[in-house]
Amino acid sequence: MIEINKLNAWFDDNHVLKDVDIKVPKNGSFGLVGESGSGKSTVLRTITGLVDDWEGEIIVNNKELGPKRDKAFYRLVQMVFQDPFGSLHPRHTIDRILTEPVNIHGLGNSDARVVEALNQVGLDNAFRFRYPHQLSGGQRQRVAIARALILEPKILLLDEPTSALDVSIQAEVLNLLSRLRRELGLTYVMVSHDLAVVAHMCDDIAIMNHGRIVERATAEQLAEGTLEHPYSQQLYKAAGGYDRAIVDTFVDWD
């Protein structure tokens, strides 16, 4: 469904992605893990057309992408951002937020689509005419997912979709995402700093550091803890909580 070969990207003189290769099968779920500045979000942003300066090959649904994305691309690929507080227009109702993409793409029948999308993410119809500030963080993130789903995409790019949420709400949203992938046959590329979240959600995982993929692993390998690269091992240990002795073994990867 998605194939990326030798992807390189730059922010001015900063070389932020270095020879990134990714392959995601149809209905697959691929996870990118790393710390700030590792380039994990930049991979998603490059796919979706938010990064101008890149080289390499991005093939989505058997079609190689050029510098521009057309409307058809956005019907196929949608993105959910980290911060549900920043990604919804504060002065638009949920109804207007959801209707806008339908109108842009001239799909028609927006009324039924909005009802359907809210239903898919488990939000009651009563939310339709509310504003984002009247919703909790978890409800907002559901709206952001509904907005992505309303165009009936096949691929969702998820950029830290639950890291702004409380853990109990995170569990609900992760379950929702798993269910949607099953029911709608979606393909996910998910970015997170949280190894456990990615291990839970994804079949294949790539660990990134300074713009490079340093290691690839399956969810099973993560479960067994059989990571080889010292950076991945450090990340794995850090996910286990605070241990004074382990912290002393950490090295900086600058």
Binding site: E35, D166, S168, A171, R179, Y242
Partner: protein
């Protein structure tokens, strides 16, 4: 470690008057604190931060604090005047905030901010203060203290900023540190490194620590004792090492709903809230 009580809080309530009515943010929290590490854990809106702020008299103007007792040594915190507070805040009780980006002064060099914190409570000359500040930057394991001393907050990374914050809050040598999500804005490895610095300093200087966080597992791997808060109430108190013996369904639910690296992709258990948990 002695068992003397440093801070005693009994039946603390924090209430806010808002246009939509009164909000009871903290509802009858009680605890005694010795020279130990106490974790306060809860989700957003549980009242954990408001508990910490009330101890330092930092509750917003539309909030009211009542308590049967709020004593720091022999000092009754509830009756302090602003002038008396200035002798306590920073000098004896200090607070580390969550995000160095917002809590450091953006137009003042890091060195000047640390010196300001020190000279507020210690009468020393500029040269001595500078010397102390550099030492403190070294103590929080900043590799080039001279350079960081002359930098502005925006010129350093998040992890470095939080080390600066710790340096600033610890330099007056307080007895009690309240750390409100001190590492939540940081990457995991940096987070643990910053915690190790805090760990060592608190231990060496024999300080008491209140560590406020949403992360139950992190807190229990760091503290001696944990209070779990839900809707303004302490629903459970635990020895940090006995987290797996948690009895309250809320605490258990919080632990269970975390994704695990066990290769299991099935749905996570959802925390079903019960109305009775919120009844004091």
């Amino acid at each position: 470690m002695s068992n003397e009580t440093l801070l005693s809080v009994k039946n603390l309530e924090v209430t806010f008057d808002t246009p939509k009515g009164t909000v009871n943010a903290v509802r009858g929290v009680s605890f005694d604190l010795g020279r130990e590490r106490l974790g306060i854990v809860g989700e957003s809106g549980s009242g954990k931060s408001q508990t910490g702020r009330a101890i330092l008299g930092l509750t917003a103007a539309n909030g009211r604090i009542t308590a049967d007792e709020m004593k720091f040594h022999d000092l009754d915190l509830a009756t302090l005047t602003p002038k008396q507070w200035r002798k306590v805040r920073g000098a004896r009780i200090s607070m580390i905030m969550q995000d160095p980006k917002y809590s450091l002064n953006p137009v003042m060099t890091i060195g000047d901010q640390i010196i300001e914190a020190y000279r507020e409570h210690h009468k020393v000359n500029a040269k001595e203060a500078r010397h102390r500040a550099i030492d403190m930057l070294e103590a929080v394991k900043i590799r080039e203290p001279e350079r960081v001393f002359n930098s502005y907050p925006h010129e350093v990374s998040g992890g470095m900023g939080q080390r600066v914050m710790i340096a600033m809050m610890l330099i007056p040598d307080p007895e009690l540190i309240i750390a409100d999500e001190p590492t939540s804005a940081l990457d995991v490895t940096v987070q643990l490194q910053v915690m190790a610095i805090l760990d060592d300093l608190v231990r060496d200087r024999g300080m008491a620590l209140i560590f406020i966080s949403h992360d139950l597992q992190l807190v229990s791997s760091f503290c001696d004792r944990v209070l779990v808060m839900y809707q303004g109430l302490v629903v459970e108190e635990l020895k940090a090492s006995a987290l797996h013996e948690a009895k309250h369904p809320y605490t258990k639910g919080l632990l269970n709903c975390l994704p695990k690296m066990d290769g299991d992709h099935s749905d996570l258990p959802i925390l079903e809230r019960e109305a009775s948990w919120a009844e004091g």
